[in-house]
Amino acid sequence: MPPIDLPIVWAGLIAFAVLAYVVLDGFDLGLGIIFPLLDSERDRDTAVNSVAPVWDGNETWLVLGGGGLLAAFPLAYAVVMPALYAPILAMLLGLVFRGVAFEFRWRTERAKPLWDVAFFGGSLIAALSQGVALGALVQGISVANRAYAGGWYDWLSPFSIMTGIALVIGYGLLGSTWLIMKTEGALQERAFRLAWPFGLATLALIGVVSLWTPFLDPSYKERWFSWPNIAYLSPVPLLVLLAAVGLFRGLATGAERQPFLAALSLFVLSYVGLGISFWPWMVPRAITIHDAAAPDASLAFLLAGAVFLLPIILGYTIWAYWVFRGKVHHDAGYH
């Protein structure tokens, strides 16, 4: 046993990368999801301009999540990807559509509505597939001989469809609260009005997923509801309630930043809850973190770089957000 438990450190780092991805790409995918609900083409331009300088960096966290999984937990990567074949490919193709739409919608007058639809549809499919993939992972994957042993449609279930919808709605909340923060005038008012239903639905769906998960498998139930776990873990739901109060208070009083921060908190808390359910599995009830881990030589080599590079990455990422701080306007950008 080395002085540092490298697999655990890496599980933490990958969890961080995925969380960073979910909250960052969450709000720009969310913009895509609420895209058709905005009032005018001008508002849609403004919405796109508000994330155009940062979306690419946001999506890089997804590459880090995938690449990190391959590097640190190759067995988990090799099992999960074939198991979630259809949702993963749907997610990638959705991201193709919405990624190119950022540029393409400025390159043509005639086909601009088409790329607007691509932006919306791509974001929707990407978000839905991510939620479905997550749900499928939570409900379990059958593994035999270091490989996926299930069928092509195992990922499809009422639970995974529900988590898919939950993520779409949750991203919609992040997107609309982001717009509240980044815009003003009529567009901001529209975003305020959108944030209410998305907020209420998000909260309801968090409740449904939380109550459904324990019934998927006894181990989840035991994790959350056995004594003394229930006492130790009770802050999680209580903080969710607190974040919800913060969200709706912010919306009611017209606060510009508070709703977005509260929505982020909801995501972080749900994610923490998920982590508590997962521990110590990499693939629930099939492969543990230590089983899936690459040899320490691999983990240590990449960790040396990550420890040095991640602070620098966070530094210039924050700087990039800082450069584009404040309200965004319709005519921003080089187009």
């Binding site: 391959l70 590097a71 640190a72 990807m81 030589a297 210039y316 921003a332």
Partner: protein, 466 residues
């Protein structure tokens, strides 16, 4: 049917299709990012507006290309798992960390500074903006470094061991990263990206010069591109030769297939043309120069070279593809060198911007850098077959446990969607290249003078000349 369309073949076609589309975009952005950095550097150093005009002209094209590179690259990073899960499990401990470094060192750097590069000119000073361009350019080169290290390791694995689970594990990272073929492949590829980009830039310049020989931004593009062709294309020939010698040492069967050498021996010929007959293990209708094959490969006319028959039949790569893809690449490279030499003659005579036939050749050569680049990739990758990790892990033993219909369905989705989406993107790039270089962004995209009445029109007319 199952013979023809088995899951392995479908997965291979899917990887080849998605990576071939993908390589175009980073190939172009590696070249363009460096070119944009040079232009901005020149603008800052000389204060000449024309460099910023050219910068702005290519910046939008860069943005469109970059977006396509990001999304098509994302697909690649997950495809190792979806279609090649056994390979991922076995090779992950070695190649995974290298790809991790690519993300940490390159992708974040590019993405972090791209926003400032594209949208931040009015928010940060010119020097900080230049810095952002430099960081993006650096990011593209770092990306090439790491992914080519991964790729090279699959060709010439080194510094590894195999553990009890059958996984490749790293023993010496230095040997893994700087594996034997990596330095050659890296230099060869980066030069290929620079040359391919130069040909596109030069073709756009030539296209506009053919309509107006006095257009200054177009002159800058045309002239800079031809310097690349004149100086770097010959260098590429030398680098390519060294890369080939390295391949001969580590993957002799690939060289034999590229050269169409079924029979080895001393003083082997160079086949200029011929039809490879894999079943009969011979070349049909070959036009050959005696001993030149040995001379090129061993730098000795009587040097000994192995032929395909010296290797087990089941380890042969596909000769039909390799023989021709290699010739296509080399032929186009020679054309680039010829064009570079021609441009030197025209320059010496002081008539570079009068050389209309040179301009026409430049326009025709515009896409040929990328054709050569893809032909080169087909040569090296098809030549790696039938292995994913050369000599160690067979392709047929690398694939995911996914049934053929699922792989086929996803392949179909990729073909349809990539063709539509990236086809549209490439169309937009062509349209952006048709814009008049030097025109302000708010002017019509196509030069004919239809902005009647508004002040820029005379300026445009004047720029176009008589």
């Amino acid at each position: 049917m199952p013979e023809l369309f088995d899951a392995v073949l479908l997965a291979r076609i899917q990887f080849a299709f998605t990576v071939t589309f993908h390589i175009l975009f980073p190939g172009f952005t590696i070249g363009l990012a460096s070119y944009l950095a040079v232009l901005q550097g020149l603008a800052l150093a000389t204060g000449r507006q024309v460099y910023m005009d050219v910068y702005r002209y290519w910046l939008r094209i860069f943005a469109v290309t970059f977006a396509m590179g990001v999304v098509s690259g994302l697909v690649m990073s997950y495809q190792f798992g979806t279609n090649w899960s056994v390979f991922s499990d076995k090779a992950g401990p070695v190649i995974g960390p290298l790809m991790g470094y690519e993300v940490l060192v390159a992708f974040f750097l590019e993405a972090g500074f791209l926003g400032v590069m594209l949208f931040g000119a009015s928010k940060v000073g010119p020097r900080l903006h230049f810095f952002a361009t430099l960081m993006v350019a650096l990011g593209t080169l770092f990306s090439a470094f790491w992914i080519l290290s991964v790729n090279s390791w699959m060709h010439t694995p080194a510094g590894y061991g195999i553990n009890e689970k059958g996984q490749f594990i790293p023993l010496d990272w230095w040997k893994v990263i700087f594996n034997p073929s990596f330095p050659y492949r890296l230099v060869h590829m980066v030069i290929a990206c620079y040359l391919s980009t130069a040909l596109v830039v030069g073709a756009a310049g030539a296209y506009h010069l053919l309509r107006d020989r006095g257009n200054q931004p177009a002159q800058v593009m045309f002239s800079m591109a031809l310097w690349m062709a004149a100086l770097v294309a010959p260098l590429q020939l030398v680098v390519g030769d060294l890369h080939g010698l390295n391949t001969l040492e580590y993957q002799p069967a690939k060289i034999a297939a590229m050269e169409g050498h079924f029979d080895g021996g001393r003083g082997v010929p160079l086949y200029l043309f011929g039809i490879p007959d894999m079943a009969g293990a011979k070349m049909d209708g070959a036009i050959a120069i005696p001993k030149l094959g040995s001379l090129i490969l061993t730098h000795d006319p009587d040097g000994a070279v192995k032929g395909l028959k010296d290797f087990p039949r089941e380890n042969w790569p596909n000769v039909d593809i390799l023989f021709w893809s290699f010739r296509l690449m080399v032929g186009l490279g020679l054309l680039m060198i010829a064009m570079g030499l021609w441009s030197l003659v025209q320059r010496a005579r002081g008539r570079l911007y009068d050389a209309r036939w040179l301009m026409r050749m430049m326009v025709a050569m515009g896409p040929m850098g990328f054709v050569a680049l893809i032909a080169g990739w087909f040569t090296t990758e098809v030549g790696r077959q039938p292995f994913t990790i050369y000599g160690l892990l067979r392709t047929s033993e690398s694939v995911s446990p996914i049934a053929a219909p699922a792989v086929g369905a996803s392949l179909l989705a990729f073909v349809v969607i990539y063709t539509a989406v990236f086809g549209a993107g490439i169309f937009y790039i062509f349209r952006l290249m048709r814009r008049w270089p030097g025109a302000e962004p708010d002017q019509p995209e196509i030069p004919p003078i239809r902005s009647a009445g508004i002040t820029p029109a005379p300026a445009v007319a004047e720029q176009r000349g008589p």
